[in-house]
Symmetry: C2
Subunit: 189 residues, 2 copies
């Protein structure tokens, strides 16, 4: 944030406002406090018999890798509506949204993932503009090494474990920043 | 949004960016798209034996009315951490955060409430700067007519019903804008 979106001033300071306890971007000219808060990512785990639907990403980040349909919750929609919309946009798939299944906080990137189990309404699906390919996978066919995000891996792993038990309790967790790999610590060469 | 927070230009238009499907604030000068998304409100339903902790609000909106400790999730925290922080700030109360209990979408004000059941660690609590008073209430003592928000009423009503059953399944719901009261429809006088 370099300019105040309310008055246009460049006199923005990161400081703790009176009565607050953490630094915010505050405009010295008009006094507006510019709060920044985490975003919600909503999505579905669409089922068809013993298979689940995955999309191969046509966009960055993680172009070419596989994901469950998910994206940022928009203003003016509920989380279940947002999850169904993302599934329609990315996989052209209509779903019956079921129970909320995983809720994963990602404090290091200011996101909260909320994934629903869902039932495909029919097999008339296909890639939307943000997907290269959309397919159904049995457990043994899931491309574990080519999944786009840790949230997706965690949701799918929980799902296949819980499916064996026949119960899907809400899975609440937090993912911290991934530790740097050894080559980063040692430096190049 | 009147000025671009990135370049300071006042040439901001509400339009659908290429490849998108809904209007965003877009800067005509530098091209920055200013996305706006719902905020998450996190809080606790703190229990002590058969009583629950409520706070009487010292701030607007709903000054003087009762609420469960809750507030906006901050960047860099998980939802459970945020719920505990709000409880400490508003009620000076330390809690053991338990299961996620109610998730309520409020699409008309772009919020998602996420309330946890929690167990008070001790009885050393009291009003923080945003509360006038903090008290424990038995079910029959809850000031139902003086609760601050519908999300709080719904969470408490579910809680006392579920407590009779001895089970607290996740309660997922949506609250729509409250319909106008009759006097609004008829006009004044």
């Amino acid at each position: 944030m370099r300019y105040c979106s309310h008055c246009g001033s460049a006199d923005i300071a990161l400081r703790v406002p009176e009565g607050d306890n953490r630094p915010r971007y505050v405009c010295a000219a008009c006094g507006t406090i510019h709060y920044q808060n985490p975003k919600v990512v909503v999505g579905c785990l669409p089922e068809w018999d013993d298979r689940v639907l995955l999309c191969r990403r046509a966009i960055e980040p993680r172009h070419g890798l596989w994901t469950l349909p998910a994206g940022f919750l928009e203003n003016a929609e509920s989380i279940a509506t947002g999850a169904a919309r993302e599934t329609l946009e990315e996989a052209s798939a209509r779903v019956h949204v079921g129970e909320l299944y995983t809720v994963i906080s990602l404090p290091y990137i200011n996101q909260v993932y909320m994934m629903f189990r869902a039932r495909l309404a029919d097999l008339d699906f296909g890639p939307g503009p943000e997907s290269l390919e959309v397919r159904l996978f049995r457990e043994e066919e899931v491309p574990w090494e080519d999944l786009a995000f840790r949230t997706i891996t965690r949701t799918l792993r929980n799902y296949f474990l819980d499916r064996r038990q026949g119960a899907f309790p809400l899975r609440l967790s937090t993912l911290e920043r991934r530790p740097p790999v050894k080559s980063d610590l040692l430096g190049a060469g």
